[in-house]
């Protein structure tokens, strides 16, 4: 029974981890930008959900429709105005830039929301489902379904739409894409915008589950990082595989070696992957 519960926990958590990581993975894969502000984007999305729920009673699943376009504009504007200026510079420059952006965003959030922890508590609470002793919290289930839906939508956009194909083309070979007439700067901005949308939506979904504070942004960022390394960069399936693997390692590790070592274990695995299989589980393919 414990084993079944731990597996279910890991499955649910893994999908949430994938949701946290997918925008980060896209931006890293396509733009070669390690967006250190990704965690803060997620927290900002979570505040959006919290505020919409408490001020207007808008449930998080509807809040997605409001948050997503705003984050697209936000991400697009950041890429166009700031990151595109340094996109050709060595990776350290963009890293420093997003680090600065993260500090700025984080402190602005502390200023407006304070560092106090808040919680989006649905009223009435949605409770948990019980299947013969194995418990699944409904809010996590909702978040999971929506996360999978968003991930699938991203997959379809990248696969079917003209812009999506252009993003993949830029991801695979920037110079060739330029020669084919792709407006790389615009594609960069769109990709970063989509990355921001995924982060903002992840934040909305995480608000259902985790306490909200600017201080948790680092935790999200580190999870995204580990998921990307485990699963491989820039692909939807990679983020899912990485998320599931990480959650499974943490869950099983926690039961076998105690929760204190579970996180350590996940980072040990990270190092092993970096040495043995740096391309991650799903390889270095683009968004096909």
């Amino acid at each position: 029974m414990l084993a079944a519960q731990v597996l279910i926990n890991a499955l649910v958590l893994g999908c949430l981890y994938a949701c946290i990581a997918i925008g980060f993975s896209l931006v890293w894969g396509v733009l070669n930008v390690i967006n250190l502000a990704h965690g803060s984007f997620i927290v900002l999305g979570a505040y959006g959900a919290w505020w919409l729920y408490h001020a207007f009673g808008i449930a998080p699943w509807y809040a997605l429709a409001i948050v997503a376009p705003l984050f697209f504009v936000f991400g697009y504007a950041i890429q166009r105005s700031i990151l595109n200026q340094v996109i050709a510079a060595p990776v350290l420059v963009t890293l420093t830039m997003t680090f600065g952006l993260d500090l700025l965003l984080n402190n602005v959030m502390i200023y407006f929301f304070t560092a106090d922890f808040r919680k989006l508590t649905l009223s009435p609470p949605v409770g948990s489902l019980s299947f013969g002793g194995v418990v699944v919290p409904v809010d996590r289930l909702i978040a999971l379904v929506l996360a999978l839906a968003l991930t699938f939508a991203l997959y379809v956009i990248l696969r079917r739409s003209r812009t999506g194909r252009a993003i993949v083309a830029v991801r695979l070979d920037r110079d060739a894409a330029t020669l084919m007439g792709v407006d790389v700067k615009s594609i960069y901005a769109i990709a970063f915008g989509i990355g921001a949308v995924m982060a903002g939506c992840a934040g909305v979904l995480m608000a259902l589950i985790f306490p909200i504070s600017p201080l948790v942004s680092t935790a999200y960022l580190t999870k995204a990082f580990v998921v990307c390394v485990l699963g491989g960069l820039g692909s939807v399936s990679g983020a899912l595989a990485g998320g599931l693997l990480l959650a499974l390692i943490e869950g099983v590790g926690s039961v076998l070696f105690g929760p204190a070592l579970a996180t350590t274990l996940s980072f040990v695995l990270l190092i092993v992957f970096l040495v043995v299989r740096p391309q991650g589980l799903m390889g270095r393919k683009g968004f096909e």
């Binding site: 418990v135 306490p211 504070s213 948790v216 959650a247 039961v255 204190a260």
Partner: protein
């Protein structure tokens, strides 16, 4: 490109100059003789920032009240209070530098200790070297005070003064509780308090069926909780800070975990915990060094607990918790000691602190031979009807212990 870079370099350089100038300006000591300067190194940015803000609120309120009353009376002459803050960015080694800088450059007369047991201990070596009386307002571990230092005092009693009365209460009111599960944040204070609870639970004939640590920044506790649930403990004790405890509590509800007694330290003492946890906070028990429900009439500038709570609410539109009260108390205690010494001579004030035996809004204040306060009896309380209700000590009891956490 080249020009852009040069422009960028120029901008960065000028910004650096501005920042440096600002730092110099803020570091220059005010040349006034009728001022007593208190140094407060705090982690104003970084992960401990919320705690530092609480400390700062406590100090500021004290400084404001002391100055409103005309300042500190030193042998008939009135001195204004000035607090100098330095941000050590939640970085313990930097708290040591910050403390030294305050003594040598800012010329502070007295010091408040850095936040938490770890940083307070590290920084106390500097204040001891310069013989500056220091009151640590947020350090409880005995290891901070057993260094033989003469100039260090603390307003938190040792950790076991929180866990012993809690265990006693559980044994009395819930004699059927035999199996205890403990989940502790792997961090100095939360782990120390969990170990104290383990000790007192065993001493009271209970069986500790689960004792595990979780890493700082853990985002998910479901595996640990599932494992705990399978052991069917009657008393679940979780330590950590407010975000950890909110998350654990939420996941306990998710996993449909129930127990006669659920205790958490150190979140439920904060109003944010009750606000954020909502219904799930009901019947959670906890202990803290101070609580707004205690009732003391003091000789300090705040006069009474009731008055202190009122002043705090007027200024910050929030109810003070033990962290803020302890900071205010540290200031008020300094004031009492300075007035008793009739001097701002460090040695005399130190001696006055060591021999202090006085009632304050915070409770009775008397420091033991190590400098740690020995006179406080920390209240045990339980969240009932979205409000903390004091269960112990008996003299200020507000309600009965309720069993059953859903």
């Amino acid at each position: 490109m080249d020009r852009t870079r040069r422009n960028l370099a120029a901008t960065v350089a000028s910004a650096a100059c501005l920042v440096a100038a600002g730092l110099l300006a803020s570091a220059a000591p005010a040349a006034a003789d009728d001022v007593i300067r208190f140094g407060a190194p705090l982690p104003l940015t970084g992960p401990l920032a919320p705690e530092a803000i609480k400390q700062k609120q406590g100090y500021d309120l004290w400084a404001e009240e002391a100055n409103k009353a005309g300042g500190i009376d030193v042998g008939g002459k009135r001195y204004k209070v000035e607090i100098v803050y330095t941000d050590y960015q939640s970085n313990t080694p930097r708290s040591v530098q910050a403390t030294e800088q305050m003594i040598t450059q800012n010329k502070v007369n007295f010091l408040f200790g850095a936040f938490g047991s770890g940083a307070a201990k590290a920084a106390s070596s500097v204040s001891e070297k310069y013989r500056i009386p220091t009151i640590a307002a947020a350090a409880s571990s005995a290891q901070v005070y057993d260094q033989g230092y003469k100039f260090l005092f603390g307003t938190f009693t040792p950790n076991d003064t929180l866990t012993t009365p809690l265990t006693k209460l559980v044994r009395e009111k819930a004699p059927d509780v035999k199996k205890v599960a403990i989940l502790a944040r792997n961090d100095l204070f939360p782990l120390a308090i969990a170990q104290e609870l383990e000790k007192s639970a065993k001493a009271n004939g209970m069986e500790v069926v689960y004792f595990e640590k979780y890493a700082i920044n853990t985002l998910d506790h479901s595996a640990a909780l599932s494992q705990m649930k399978a052991l069917a403990p009657q008393w679940i004790f979780v330590t950590g800070y407010i975000n950890d405890l909110l998350l654990v509590r939420k996941q306990m509800v998710d996993q449909q975990m129930k127990a006669p007694v659920v205790s958490m330290i150190a979140g439920p003492a904060y109003q944010e915990f009750i606000d954020a946890a909502g219904q799930s906070a009901e019947n959670i028990s906890s202990a803290a060094w101070w609580h707004p429900a205690v009732r003391y009439e003091g000789k300090d500038v705040f006069k009474s607990t009731v008055n202190y709570v009122k002043l705090f609410r007027d200024k910050y539109k929030a109810t003070p918790d033990y962290a803020q009260a302890s900071a205010s108390a540290a200031g008020a205690i300094f004031q009492l000691a300075i007035e008793k010494a009739g001097s701002i001579d460090p040695q005399k004030v130190r001696d006055a602190l060591a021999s202090l035996d006085v009632m304050t809004f915070y409770g009775p204040v008397k420091f033991g031979p190590t400098g740690q306060i020995v006179s406080l009896e920390p209240p045990v309380f339980q969240i009932q009807g979205a409000k903390p209700v004091v269960l112990l000590p008996a003299a200020i009891k507000q309600g009965e212990f309720r069993l059953g956490v859903q």
